[in-house]
């Protein structure tokens, strides 16, 4: 039995016209306009959704962004390649290391620079640590949308442990900039692997507890199973990637499909499910958490102890890149995360354009997925798509 009954008689509800547009007469007194966000605990950052409700059922949803536009892509067009680093990483707050990687990889590819083996392993480690800290927030965060706050508190603590390791390795907790065009800035500190292993053991226990707390919880299951189902036909039609696509039965993972850095030397299999509702999308991410912990262990066991960590690069103040263009992708915790870079022979990029999964998820997918949903489920649906507004309005 569902907590929220959706009326099956649709005759009282607005109908779509021949162009598929919802016919809504706000003056009829049947509907309510409600803005969820930008200041609302249930929205994932600075965006808002304009909802039209009939009772507590959503009949139309429109996403509005623009609350944190900082013009990063424009700013980078006026920066040297090395100066673009610290601007580009801020395009995604939740997982900035993916920005570091795609930006560095574009610069290196267009300059014809091959990075050393050691740098590949350290970059892989950083990307997996970044995925881990992002998942430690979003996996229990799904419970938080159903007022299950305990897991969120645990997750915050676990994430802090990984941020401690980031601070030890890079000197920074959020924006690390440990990657640099040509490689990385240094080797792992003495005893880093031992301390990381201690943290991973704690996270192992957390993963088991989350399994009990969320996925065997009657309220969580009732609120998430068969809610906001994404049919397989939507995956390509809407450009859905990452865990959302995998939960619908599509084995899409950039690390496997287009192996980069040291991923081809690691043994892992991304979890694929066959019914993309809130429960399975969250469950897919929970499995990703297990995979990521395992990958960090594999990386630490397989990576060389010492070696050259940065290739020779031109003088960064006079670094000019010949005219060219490329697109480099990586797998962030949300899915395919890519950067299109165009160079024109000068010392600054002509154009960079970020492609983040939230661009599709938060607008095209969310607007259609919310129609017919209950008002109480909006926050849960957003979190299940892992929307991240900063990567929409770069």
């Amino acid at each position: 039995m569902s907590f929220f009954k959706i009326e099956t008689d649709r005759s009282k509800y607005p109908q779509r016209d021949a162009e598929g547009k919802m016919q809504i007469d706000l003056d009829s007194g049947k509907y309510v306009k409600l803005w969820q966000g930008p200041n609302h605990p249930g929205v994932t950052g600075n965006m808002s959704i304009e909802l039209t409700l009939a009772g507590d059922e959503i009949v139309e949803a429109k996403t509005h962004v623009g609350y944190l536009h900082r013009g990063f892509e424009k700013l980078i067009e006026r920066r040297l390649f090395i100066q673009g680093m610290q601007t580009s990483i801020r395009m995604c707050v939740a997982e900035p290391d993916s920005n570091e990687y795609v930006y560095c990889a574009c610069v290196e590819e267009l300059s014809g620079i091959e990075i050393p083996e050691m740098a590949k392993w350290i970059r892989t480690l950083i990307l997996e640590m970044a995925r881990l800290q992002a998942l430690l927030r979003v996996v229990p965060g799904q419970g938080g949308t159903f007022a299950l706050g305990v897991g969120v508190q645990w997750g915050v603590y676990m994430r802090e442990l990984i941020l401690d390791r980031f601070e030890e390795l890079t000197g920074a907790r959020i924006y690390h900039m440990f990657m640099t065009p040509g490689g990385v800035r240094g080797l792992l500190p003495e005893g880093f692997k031992k301390r990381m292993e201690e943290n991973l053991k704690e996270i192992d226990r957390f993963i088991d507890r989350i399994d009990n707390l969320m996925y065997n919880n009657a309220v969580f299951k009732k609120r998430s199973i068969d809610v906001a189902v994404i049919p397989p036909s939507w995956i390509d039609k809407y450009g859905i990637v990452g865990p959302v696509a995998r939960s619908a039965g599509f084995k899409r993972d950039v690390r496997k499909d287009y192996p980069y850095l040291a991923y081809d030397q690691l043994d892992f299999e991304p979890k694929v499910m066959n019914h993309s509702d809130i429960y399975n999308r969250s469950r897919t991410r929970w499995h990703d958490l297990i995979t990521t912990v395992d990958l960090i262990r594999q990386i630490m066991a397989k990576m060389p102890e010492k070696g050259v960590f940065k290739a020779e690069t031109p003088n960064v103040l006079h670094w000019q890149i010949p005219r060219g263009e490329t697109y480099v992708r990586s797998e962030a915790s949300r899915g395919e995360y890519g950067l299109y870079m165009v160079t024109d022979g000068s010392d600054k990029p002509r154009r960079i354009n970020l492609r983040g999964p939230s661009y599709n998820n938060a607008i095209a997918v969310l607007e259609d997925l919310l129609v017919g949903a209950n008002i109480a489920d909006v926050a849960a649906i957003m979190v299940s798509l892992q929307t991240c507004p900063p990567e929409i309005e770069r």
């Binding site: 962004v65 424009k74 590819e109 003088n315 103040l317 060219g324 490329t326 154009r351 095209a364």
Partner: protein, 175 residues
């Protein structure tokens, strides 16, 4: 990849094909054939995943370069189709009927570059900017610094170093 380019050349007028990586190639199509080409790639060549629609402002040539990135998830490679349009009368055929997310890209490009996509849904609704009355801000001739100085009141700022000079003194002190 070469086979695909040769195959497409038999049907469409394609030039400047560049194989950037074994899994990525760029090619330029004629403006009037671009949407037919990407429809063909979607329907007959397995490019079911639309990755990105981007634009590059070649102001010196008075041209915009639209770039449509398509991905073939089975063969695991990408094709980027470039389309050159006139910068002064920037209009392009809409592709919103092919993939759902394209309408969002086109709405953004209308706002940020002033490119028209007739028929695209909600094209004229503001996307990121609200009440913008200047030239589209991502165009190369829009000067962000000048705009900020003219629009916002002057503020006292702490003394700063010129980034280039500061970096030079730190990184290359002998130069």
């Amino acid at each position: 990849m070469e086979n695909l380019i040769e195959k497409l050349k038999n049907i469409f007028e394609i030039k400047d094909a560049v194989i950037q990586r074994p899994d990525l190639c760029f090619a330029t199509a004629k403006k009037e054939q671009t949407i037919s080409l990407i429809t063909h790639l979607r329907d007959y060549e397995g490019f079911s995943h639309f990755v990105l629609l981007s634009v590059v402002d070649w102001i010196e040539d008075k041209q915009f370069q639209l770039t449509y990135f398509l991905n073939n998830p089975t063969q695991k490679y990408d094709v980027a189709i470039r389309c050159i349009i006139d910068r002064e009368e920037a209009t392009m055929t809409s592709a919103h009927h092919l993939w759902k997310q394209i309408a969002t890209y086109q709405r953004e490009l209308k706002e940020m570059y002033g490119i028209e996509f007739p028929g695209s849904p909600r094209l004229n609704e503001s996307f990121i900017l609200e009440g913008w009355d200047n030239i589209p801000p991502m165009r190369r001739d829009f000067d962000t610094k000048k705009y900020a100085e003219e629009t916002f009141f002057p503020r006292e700022r702490p003394a700063t170093n010129d980034p280039a000079e500061y970096m030079k003194s730190k990184l290359y002190p002998d130069e």
